[in-house]
Amino acid sequence: MRSGDVYPRLWIFGTLLFAMGLRILPLPPEWALWNPDWVLLLLIYWSITLPDRVGVGTAWLTGLFVDALTARLLGQQALAYAVVVYFCVRFHRRFRLYPLGQQVVTVMFLLGFSLLLVLWTRNIRGEDMQVGYWWAATTGGLVWPLLWSGCERLRRSLDLG
């Protein structure tokens, strides 16, 4: 690995680690439903802004750790993250041109898609399904503008390419 690679990688790794911490924050149960998938939000951000560094592989590996972290079957989040990040990398140019409102809707859709994939791989009984399952996608979309501007500032000030 070249020395120029290490610096952005560290930052990407650091933000992802922080997001994992947010993911398992001990919120009261009724709030926890609204806690968005911070890890995926950051993966979306990094894969759109730095598609050459954060791709399907990074997403999959991150997902594997999130699976272990949240005590799921190994491969659930990994698969969902890999698929979502694939679309992000594929359409990153188009996404960057979207106005903010459209970005929010797209991010909600991506988070919802990830939830759907996890649901599909999870052997959950029908009667346990509730509307609340999808709420995290809504809040995730709503925090996107904040996350976008925060990360842009971080990226610019650190000159991460």
Partner: protein, 303 residues
């Protein structure tokens, strides 16, 4: 790519590679999922669990710290009052234990007479629950004792008042415990009053268990204590699980019975990991290991 981040990148170079990678990772994920569902990934889980343990601790520690600070600044009067209450409670419990010891001896003698060689007594290990939230809708908690102390999957987990759940996964320093209110959990129970056996399922709510396999004419009342029946081999028999809180449709062929867990599952911080008599138990030199020879009916008798 080219040196530095700012250089012009070729537009179409990545596309086939990404397609191929997605396919590869999707296949690997599906293989992992299938293997994991069959429980074939114990070592991988253990390794990953050890890797994420520091992060879990990092999230949990500040929360715990704040909680303990709150406890410390709680008023002197409150502490005094609590101290007095606890002392009274201890006296009462010790008095009850005296009787339990006598009953245990009698039980052993009677069993010896019957020729049944059932060894009474289990080993306990106190573990602390980490303050992390894994997945909403699934009642999983992380405790800070793991395979290094002999914890293993399928091990029953208790609270001083009653059953909490069972260990589902272990890593060297921590383990994941499924609460009995998780929708995927079932526990064989019997009504303490008359020995009626059934199965209590998790409902997804921390204050509710459901008992769907009882006929409408079954002899069960609101307020009945449900204890572990010992069937299934995971939980030792005779520990309190829940009290019956509601019976609906008593006239129809299947009654809808719900029960409230005896242990306050949403508020507990410490749990007891249990080794039943057939197993070896935690290493003896560990200072937190509590050897207990009081017997299977201990928690029950304390009530």
């Amino acid at each position: 790519m080219v040196t530095g981040g700012r250089a012009i990148k070729p537009i179409f170079s990545k596309k086939p590679a990404q397609n191929f990678r997605l396919l590869l990772f999707a296949v690997v994920s599906l293989v992992l999922l299938a293997a994991d569902r069959r429980g074939a990934l114990g070592a991988l889980h253990s390794g990953l669990g050890a890797a994420v343990y520091p992060l879990r601790q990092m999230v949990s520690t500040p929360v715990r710290l704040i909680e303990s600070l709150q406890e410390q600044v709680s008023s002197y009067a409150h502490a005094l009052e609590e101290n007095r209450r606890l002392r009274a409670e201890r006296t009462l419990l010790e008095a009850k234990l005296l009787k339990v010891a006598a009953l245990e001896q009698e039980n052993i003698r009677l069993r010896a007479l019957l020729g049944a060689s059932i060894e009474v007594g289990e080993h306990f290990l106190i573990a602390e629950i980490l303050s992390v939230n894994l997945v909403p809708y699934e009642h999983l908690v992380v405790v800070n004792k793991g395979a290094r102390l002999g914890v293993h999957a399928g091990q029953p987990v208790f609270h001083s008042r009653g059953v909490v759940g069972q260990v589902v996964r272990v890593s060297p320093l921590s383990s994941e415990v499924m609460l009995m209110t998780d929708p995927n959990h079932a526990i064989p129970v019997q009504v303490n009053r008359n020995g009626l056996r059934t199965i209590a399922l998790g409902s997804g709510k921390t204050d509710r268990l459901v008992l769907p396999y009882l006929s409408g004419s079954a002899d069960i009342q609101v307020g009945d204590l449900l204890v572990t029946s010992g069937m299934g081999g995971v939980f030792p028999s005779g520990y309190p699980v829940a009290t019956v809180s509601e019976i609906a449709d008593a006239g129809s062929s299947f009654a809808k019975v719900t029960a409230t867990p005896v242990a306050p599952l949403d508020r507990i911080r410490e749990v007891l990991l249990v080794w039943t008599h057939a197993e070896t138990g935690p290493p003896k030199e560990d200072p937190t290991a509590v050897m207990d020879s009081v017997g299977t009916n201990r928690a029950h008798a304390l009530r």
